[in-house]
């Protein structure tokens, strides 16, 4: 029951925020309260969880004739992702304190509804409900970009919607095909996992599923929507997009691909790794050429998510652990960078690397934050990204050392774009007569929390790995250790 409450809470919170949106900050505090309440509820669930992998499991038959039932379950992986979503929710509200003036009620409502839908994705184990939340996620995200974005925001929002909605059909089609194959039609992922399908059928099903996941994961050639969506979205929008929405793709692949189609994934895994490696390299190289800071970070997200894909496709223990950690680490680094660049944009109204610079002399806090998260971007040891990417590369070495070399080259490219971002923003001479206010408390505390998280996971990954261990074991496909 608690799990359904976890989904309804942000939904209802959004509704309340929408209706009481008078002048003043009421709806912002309601949003923050909702997300805080969610975190408390999550902690309560995890604390009171029985032994074993699942912290909580609930199942209500909804349409028995078609075998559709509301079954939600939460384990280590989904718990941490939900915690991040709620945390990023609070951070995005704080980040858009001064930025959003018009219709802020609707803004905070769509923030809450996006998080509600993503939590639905993280919890649901019924394929139809999963597909429902998968599509439901797009609507509030679309409004976030379309209404409060910059520049050609409608175009970017439309592109985002078309890409993801069309890909969602792949998921839906595969889900229905899979459900109908069961002797009695059922959408429950656990029952479907028991079905013995031939490898070729599994591969086709996997392609259907992974179409949706790859587009949401924005692995090149499916990444075209991400740069515009992230660049033209408001700060809160890009934080949520990078921190939460990208993770639903990774989560789906991590959870359902090995569970439903083990042989399929094993057969496809070399191509998956190759795609991931090529994508990471492509994302990195394109990022090197960008002049707009936010676009650069958007392309780095593409590179990092391709690395996650490589980890999952490799299927060995190290790689999966690496992918899981990389997912979470990327949430912190990407959203922090978007927050900082957004704050910078609010002050200087430009994101062009060639015009910015010299933060070191005039805004030390900015410079410090950028330095830390740029180092996280290039996976400096000691940051969580390093743990993720190192484990992925080690895992891939076990599978195939050629791809591992390719993966390593992505790390090299990551140095190029990370240092370019750092040089563009922090070093060099500040523009002569441009006084820049340093980070105020609203922006400083979220960045502090996220940098602490990155460093703690970076220096002591055991804390996170223990949490994710059951999920990783369940996702093991290849016979390798």
């Amino acid at each position: 029951m608690a799990l359904i409450a976890l989904i309804l809470l942000p939904a209802v919170g959004g509704l309340i925020a929408f209706f009481i949106a008078g002048q003043g900050e009421r709806e912002r505090w309601v949003a923050i309260a909702t997300f805080a309440l969610m975190l408390v509820l999550l902690v309560a669930i995890v604390a009171g969880a029985p032994e074993g992998r699942w912290y909580a499991q609930v199942s209500y038959p909804w349409v028995p004739s078609f075998g559709i039932s509301l079954d939600f379950a939460m384990d280590g992986l989904s718990a941490s992702l939900i915690a991040i979503s709620a945390g990023l929710g609070i951070i995005s509200v704080m980040a858009s304190w001064s930025e959003i003036r018009t219709q802020s009620g609707l803004f905070h409502a769509s923030l809450c509804w996006t998080v509600a839908a993503t939590i639905g994705v993280f919890l649901s184990f019924d394929l139809l409900i999963f597909a429902f939340f998968w599509e439901a996620m797009l609507v509030p995200a679309f409004t976030l970009i379309a209404v409060w974005g910059h520049g050609d925001r409608e175009g970017a929002a439309l592109k985002f919607l078309i890409f993801n909605a069309v890909a969602g059909f792949g998921l839906l089609a595969a889900a229905f095909a899979l459900a109908s194959m069961a002797d009695h039609m059922t959408f429950n992922a656990f029952e479907l996992a028991e079905m013995k399908l031939s490898t070729s059928v599994q591969v086709w099903m996997l392609l259907g599923f992974s179409l949706a996941f790859l587009v949401k994961l924005s692995v090149p050639p499916f990444h075209a929507w991400l740069p515009e969506a992230h660049t033209l979205a408001p700060t809160a929008g890009s934080i949520l997009l990078a921190g939460v929405l990208l993770k639903t793709g990774a989560y789906g692949l991590f959870r359902f691909a090995p569970m439903l189609f083990p042989q399929g994934l094993a057969a496809v895994s070399p191509y998956g790794i190759a795609l991931g490696a090529a994508g990471a390299l492509y994302g990195g190289l394109v990022a090197c050429g960008q002049n707009d800071a936010k676009r650069l970070v958007a392309y780095t997200s593409i590179a990092h998510m391709s690395i996650v894909l490589m980890g999952i496709a490799a299927g060995v223990h190290y790689a999966l652990a690496g992918a899981a950690v990389e997912m979470i680490a990327h949430s912190f680094s990407a959203s922090a960078l978007f927050l900082l660049i957004g704050a910078l944009y609010e002050r200087t109204h430009t994101r062009d690397l060639r015009q910015l610079g010299g933060l070191q002399q005039i805004a030390p806090r900015f410079a410090a934050a950028f330095a830390l998260f740029c180092s996280a971007l290039l996976a400096l040891p000691g940051t969580a990204n390093f743990v993720g990417e190192a484990l992925v590369v080690v895992g891939i070495f076990q599978v195939n050392w050629v791809f591992a070399l390719l993966a390593l080259s992505t790390l090299i490219v990551s140095v190029i774009y990370a240092t370019r971002l750092l040089k563009g923003l922090v070093f060099g001479q500040p523009r002569p007569n441009a006084p820049l206010a340093d980070l105020n408390w609203r922006e400083y505390w979220p960045v502090l929390v996220m940098s602490l998280a990155t460093l703690v996971i970076g220096l002591y990954p055991q804390s996170l790995l223990a949490l994710l261990e059951p999920a990783i074991k369940a996702a093991l496909v290849l016979p390798l250790p």
Binding site: A224, P227, L285, V286, G289, Y299, I416, G428, A466
Partner: protein, 688 residues
């Protein structure tokens, strides 16, 4: 009592921490008391463990786990091993260290307080590190101890920081051993990767399963690492120059314990080397080579400490020879006995040189017999044991065991035995050369009052061990799992004759110093023996020239000029303007346009500082890479592809529109067509 083992090195560690980090100013006596106490305690703590071991408490491979680090993907187990090997070596190290520290309590008393405190802290840290190496049952603790003793040897060699020679000797020792440690680390890592566990016994269990082409490099690398630390042939240059440190340091580190760490490691990993015969053969060759060369060079030395250093190198050559031929137990026995009499020699030489004004030249010791009778006689007994005079000294038993092992080690055993015997004879020669010089008459007989219990006790104990220790050699070999070799009478007799011959040769050399000079002079010119200079010309000098070229010290003014340019923030167009190499490229026009285009007018990626040719090449390559390769990616072709695809829908719509004529007839035509198609399909599939 076995669980006491992990606590044996702890007092030494605490001693180090207290002495080095305690902010409180300690008085001289407290420092000495603390230093010596912290060094003696491990020996005391070790006694009960040894007793329980003797009663059969320890079997090969038993280990006391200390802590385990769970790295998520595998569990690293740090443990200390409780087997005969660590008992024997641990006992020797603890005993010798305790005695040397007691001796140095008196010997170093005249040092200024801060140096004294630093000395005792470092000696205690060394003891802790050495015990860690000796007891380690897993690779992590082993390498931790290994590096600590390397560090302490550098700090202790360079103890007299004011002497430039000592500091350079320290650096030389550190660099050589670090190079060897790098080999060792590589070997251990490869061993870990193929064995999958960090525990030594686990690794040794995995050795038979490993295929030979993977095992050979591992064994080779580890052997190189061990030989480096034990100052064997390719890495031996640092040991003689390490004598620049204080005598107790040379006594403890560079004679008994540290240099033998390599031997201990090779003994512990004996099954690994047994599985790699060609590597063991190489090790044996290096051992015998160093033994012979060390003995020969020691013969022509004029400084007693240098002589003893070469003697240590030669004796360890014997041990390595025994190891190479697959007799680790014999090597360990020789190590134990050698540690005793070599530290005895060093300590007594220290006393004699201290008494004769501090110089360690052999000539300066002339007449020490009458000035320092105690010290002289203990030195003489030590020398006897080193030479291996038959029956009466411990050295003979252990050397005899080594020679027996060499004799019965397969086909080429006999020639090796001959070489080893000549080396033994030379050892006898250079050992007794010093004794005869020290024993002869000398003018100034005044013996300044020096010594005292703190010096005499260690010398006494060591002399006792040097003499009586021999009886225990057989038991030691049996205890550490080796089988004593039974060889025919003739080689044993010849083995016994060799040292006596050595003594006669020594007497000849002392009586006719001039021949020795001629021999020494000729030897010094033999290129093979001028290894010291060899190293200098081939490695050090070349390295220095490259470093200066790269550093391009004269490039500094170019840097200053560049900085000036930048300050006025003149946006010099890229490479050419402010950088000497740029000009060398042919001035302004030469700068390729694609670099400018790539960095599209923004300030060049990196302002090139000082004339660093290699650095600049990298920068140019990076910018070319950015310019030509990355630039092609910047407008994200895939994104344009998708938008093009989306655009194509526009044209498709144009055609589609023409279809919609709006006439009722056409629309109903399409409807009818659809209906016909459906009927055909239905007929095709279900009606049959």
């Amino acid at each position: 009592m076995a669980s006491l083992l992990p606590f044996v090195p702890v007092p030494a560690l605490i001693g180090f921490l207290v002495l080095s980090l305690m902010p409180v100013a300690l008085s001289r006596t407290v420092v000495i008391a603390l230093g010596v106490g912290a060094a003696v305690l491990p020996a005391i703590l070790f006694a009960p463990v040894a007793v329980s071991c003797l009663e059969g408490g320890c079997v090969a491979g038993a280990a006391v786990p200390i802590l385990s680090i769970d790295v998520g993907v595998f569990v690293a187990q740090i443990a200390m091993s409780l087997d005969p090997l660590s008992m024997v070596t641990g006992g020797t190290v603890a005993l010798v260290a305790a005695l040397v520290l007691i001796y140095s309590g008196a010997y170093m008393a005249s040092e200024p307080l801060p140096d004294l405190r630093r000395y005792f802290a470092l000696m205690n840290l060394f003891l802790a590190g050495m015990l860690a190496v000796v007891f380690a049952a897993d690779v992590i603790l082993l390498f931790l101890g290994w590096e600590t003793i390397g560090l302490c040897s550098f700090m202790l060699i360079a103890f007299y920081t004011k002497l430039p020679k000592a500091v350079s000797a320290g650096r030389k020792a550190l660099i050589t051993t670090r190079v060897a440690d790098a080999f060792l680390l590589a070997g251990l890592m490869m061993l870990f990767l193929s064995a999958g566990t960090t525990r030594l016994d686990g690794m040794l269990a995995a050795v038979p399963a490993m295929d030979p082409w993977r095992l050979a490099p591992i064994a080779g690398l580890i052997a190189l690492g061990a030989l480096g630390k034990s100052a064997q042939f390719p890495f031996h240059t640092w040991l003689p120059s390490a004598m620049a440190g204080p005598t107790p340091v040379s006594a403890l580190l560079h004679s008994a314990t540290m240099v033998a760490a390599g031997v201990i490691l090779l003994a512990r990993l004996a099954p690994l080397f047994a599985a790699a015969p060609e590597i063991s053969a190489m090790v044996a060759m290096l051992g015998i080579l160093t033994a012979a060369a060390g003995a020969l060079i020691a013969l022509i030395q004029t400084d007693v400490k240098k002589l003893l250093a070469f003697s240590t190198m030669s004796q360890i050559g014997f041990m390595v020879l025994a190891l190479g031929l697959g007799a680790p137990a014999v090597a360990l026995a020789h190590f134990a006995i050698h540690a005793a009499f070599k530290s005895l020699l060093f300590l007594s030489a220290g006393v004699m040189s201290h008494a004769s004004g501090g110089s360690t030249a052999i000539e300066a010791l002339r007449g020490a017999r009458y000035r320092q009778p105690w010290a002289f006689w203990s030195f003489a007994i030590g020398a006897a044991s080193l030479a291996g005079l038959p029956v009466i000294t411990a050295g003979w038993y252990s050397k005899e065991a080594v020679l027996a092992a060499v004799w019965s080690s397969g086909p080429c055993g006999v020639p090796l035995w001959l070489l080893a015997a000549t080396a033994a004879m030379l050892t006898g020669a250079y050992a007794f050369r010093v004794v005869f010089v020290a024993g002869s008459q000398s003018a100034d007989l005044a013996a300044p009052p020096w010594g005292g219990a703190a010096v005499m006790v260690p010398l006494g104990v060591l002399t006792f061990v040097a003499v009586v220790g021999g009886l225990s050699v057989g038991a030691l070999i049996g205890f550490t799992g080796g089988a004593p070799e039974h060889i025919p009478l003739l080689p044993t007799l010849l083995g016994a004759a060799a040292p006596i011959l050595g003594v006669v040769l020594a007497r000849q050399l002392v009586r006719h110093p001039r021949e020795l000079e001629r021999v020494a002079h000729r030897l010094r010119h033999v290129r093979a023996f001028r290894i010291e200079i060899l190293y200098y010309y081939y490695f050090v000098r070349r390295f220095r020239t490259i470093a200066t070229v790269l550093g391009n010290a004269d490039g500094t003014e170019a840097a200053a000029q560049a900085a000036a340019l930048r300050r006025e923030s003149i946006d010099a167009p890229g490479l050419a303007a402010d950088d000497p190499l740029g000009r060398a490229f042919g001035g302004e026009a030469a700068q390729p346009d694609f670099i400018a285009r790539a960095t599209d007018g923004q300030t060049p990626v990196v302002r090139l500082v000082s004339g660093d040719p290699v650095g600049r090449i990298l920068i140019v390559v990076a910018r070319v890479f950015v310019g030509s390769f990355v630039a092609r990616f910047s407008p994200d072709q895939i994104d344009r592809g998708w938008m093009g695809f989306a655009g194509s829908f526009g044209h498709a719509w144009e055609q589609a529109r023409r279809l919609q004529t709006g006439r009722v007839r056409d629309h109903s035509l399409w409807i009818a067509l659809g209906c016909a198609a459906l009927l055909l399909y239905a007929w095709g599939t279900s009606w049959r």
